[in-house]
Symmetry: D2
Subunit: 289 residues, 4 copies
């Protein structure tokens, strides 16, 4: 019918406009077809070889951090993650060691030739953070902390931006656009699961976000399997799925003794489990950085 025809024309026009609008964004692959590669030391994120970013949820001590760093270095990986400023639901939970934690991370990382990824939660901490951190993580709860996005946009330090727990893929892209439009092109997108009704996992890993973000943006895309799952027993299949779907790498929480961890005890894996994880993942993808 004529009516259906008009409807299709209108819908197509709208979609086209929407697409043109999105294509104009700095994050858009239409605007910059080649992949952005974020280089940190010798590690190249988004350069074709997947990265594994491992480390404890929270930096708790020098010994704990060193134990994890040693295993990371043992596998030839170049990055360590660890939380010094911790976003915790309750004010009475462990809030992280703060700057002291950053110092431990830096010292241990330097010992093993690793680069440091750590979350910063507020603009006021950026000045000190850039002295210790190689990649600034913006956590899920701060994906739309626009003041923070603008501030890291004014830096040149790479930014690992996590998807908010109820953010749409479109909002995620716009959050990255805040950073790029303020001058910092070194943004790494990280899918970490979204909040749904399903409670078998802590969050629902939105695996479809990986190919969509790879198509629509030129930025590297990682998957944080630990926060997505919230349980240890499915981390390996999720990591395999992430790489199979085209992710540029995987984040995973590792702790020498998860049962006494000060945060995320349920989802961190111990050192031996991490060794097995790496061994089995190599069957899926041969090389990591």
């Amino acid at each position: 019918t004529i009516r259906a025809l008009f409807k299709q024309i209108f819908a197509a026009s709208l979609k086209l406009q929407q697409k043109q609008h999105e294509d104009a964004l700095l994050v858009s692959r239409a605007r910059k077809p080649e992949d952005t590669v974020v280089a940190v030391g010798s590690v190249r994120i988004g350069g074709g070889t997947p990265v594994i970013i491992a480390g404890p949820c929270s930096v708790e001590s020098e010994a704990q951090t060193d134990a994890v760093a040693r295993v990371i270095a043992e596998h030839g990986l170049g990055l360590i993650r660890g939380g010094a400023f911790k976003p915790r639901t309750s004010p009475y939970d462990f809030q992280g060691l703060g700057v002291e934690g950053l110092k431990i991370l830096r010292e241990v990382a330097d010992r093993y030739g690793l680069k440091v990824v750590s979350e910063i939660m507020t603009p006021g901490d950026l000045d000190v953070a850039v002295r210790y951190v190689d990649i600034i993580q913006i956590g899920a709860r701060n994906m739309q902390n626009f003041a923070l996005l603008k501030e890291v946009g004014a830096l040149s330090t790479p930014v690992l931006l996590k998807r908010g727990m109820a953010a749409t893929i479109e909002e995620f892209k716009f959050a990255a656009e805040y950073i790029l439009s303020h001058g910092n092109p070194n943004v790494i997108l990280t899918e970490r699961g979204i909040r749904t009704y399903e409670k078998a996992t802590r969050n629902t890993l939105d695996i479809s976000a990986v190919p969509i973000l790879k198509q629509e943006t030129h930025l590297p895309v990682l998957v944080d399997v630990s926060h997505a799952a919230g349980r240890r027993d499915i981390l390996l299949p999720l990591a395999k799925a992430a790489l199979a779907a085209g992710a540029d790498g995987v984040m995973i929480e590792v702790h020498p003794d998860p049962s006494v961890a000060l945060s995320d005890a349920q989802q961190q894996i111990d050192l031996d489990t991490f060794r097995r994880f790496m061994a089995e993942l190599k069957t899926a993808a041969p090389a990591f950085v």
Copy 2:
């Protein structure tokens, strides 16, 4: 069976522990049975008489703000809301007038004897904000901006805390606990809808959160009907429902000419619609402040 009996005992024990833990919170009604009343000038929020907080989504100009303020004062209401720092999905959208907007709000509010509610998005803006604002709003995207929560916790200015768009009621309470535990007891909880699959409304107003928060905490509870609905045509029934469910008041966006508004054009109502809204709401609840 024995097994089922043990299960009930275990479950009951866990629930009891959970309850004891929650009862120990500063926000908990178990700890402070009497209602907290947040007094701002002559307005008492949580004092038994519902409040209506109206105003434009964004402060756009002195004339626009004045037009709304006049109608608010006309109805004997004591509060005006207006955004000066605007959290916007895209960096290319109108970001608010900033401090200039706060000054306009203050000047217009003083002209009509109103108190000012306005959102602050980052700790760095608090110093200037407290000079112009009577109630600091923490928006949904910042409900777990813990650095910001701690900072407003160190002030005595009342805080209107909005529920995050995917926050559980429990997380909402803990966010308020951050503020109380840092010393500021003047917190107003505001339900503004949660993000669900339903797209007929911008968010899904979780009306059940109202009686639950009233039972479990001693804090005033408001409902922001404009952000919940994202459309004008159901604001009145939602406001009636909110008050019927026990809310201490309602927030609503009002603009002299919504069609040219710089933000939230779809959900703001014009001045005449607001007058009708107030008239009809009075049939549901006789008095407002």
Copy 3:
């Protein structure tokens, strides 16, 4: 800009087409402006006076059903609900008394002059059901059981259609359209909460659905507060909110001794609590049928 103007034109055109499409539906108020009133005996649902439909989750025995029916009649209410065919997550849970349950319901209802609402789950049970039931309930899990919808559409018995637990308001309207388009105009829509991430309640009552359904359709709209809440302590404020939002009535589960109920033990209220519920609800709305 021209582009933005075209976008608005396209969007408006699409919206208009969508509206015209929806206005053409049999359920649409645009097509039939006056309210549909479903009459069952002397009870008129949708006729301006709210109805309260109470009764046990499951019919368990004649004595249990009689005890509830007596209290219903005591309050001058004309309807009793009770489950004979029970949709249960596990095959090992109590599946209802089946036809035996319908017979008990009928007998007890006749004793007190009540009309019977009971769920039917499959077309094969309709023949026997219509002998005992005055209003056939289609449960949330069967909202899109299209074979069942078509079959009840071929009957003249009124149908109480519950919203699916992840159904959009639009899908809900189309489910009703299945019934109307097969010839049965006597449909009562019932909002019973949708599934979200929030776990403080069993489901999230979508209170906005009430005014939207009242605006867009001519059918009566009820709210099932028991399944929405999944807990007893907020049923009264939810019922008040439902009526304030414009609902034509409320469904609530009542059991003489909820602690031994064979289903939904957590959310049913006992007889005395029901008496208090009715007393307090009368302050919100003076008369019920």
Copy 4:
């Protein structure tokens, strides 16, 4: 503290009981450690070699079905899917060819030596269905159509059970348990995406469900990438991810000319795209049945 210790004991006890309860289910891997393999002709689903189930959303004509079947056979695949009874949101949408569609499917499938998968929506259609269909599909909307589950449980025909669009993994297992407990052990679980707030995809593929279902049950697990995505451009990465996560196979909708398809026009792929899909998928997994 003592309190925290007790809490852990209680929580562990509850979890243990829950686990014991689930381990007792017929679907549970604890009860039957070895994988269930559903054999249909020479195709073995769950036997280690992944299956690809392709075919049109709806059977529209003999020619259309034949065109798809030829390409399926060309790739050495043994199964064709096609809808004859279609669950459609609107009663005015194409409802499928019904029995006529089943006959076309059977005839075409026999021509190419394929086995037939087709959805049955109501118990009344089972008698005729078993004459034409090799695997009965229970769609997402009927996952908790318990009467239908019981009826297919009484057959020996294999059942492909799709996860409901808002079903938890636990509810999904219980739905399968209905079938097994009524006597039919040949159940294939199919993840097809769940409904969330994200609109970039039709549903959110819950990739975590794959390893969880493989661990907790002994049943084969497939992934329907077409309904999960609702768009064509990410089907290949989703299929790769599904297999990498441990799925026993993938379902995908194929149509000779999707633009004129009577249903799901947006997500079906044409024959050439399907050929490329198969070619590229073979780099991820070498053999399919």
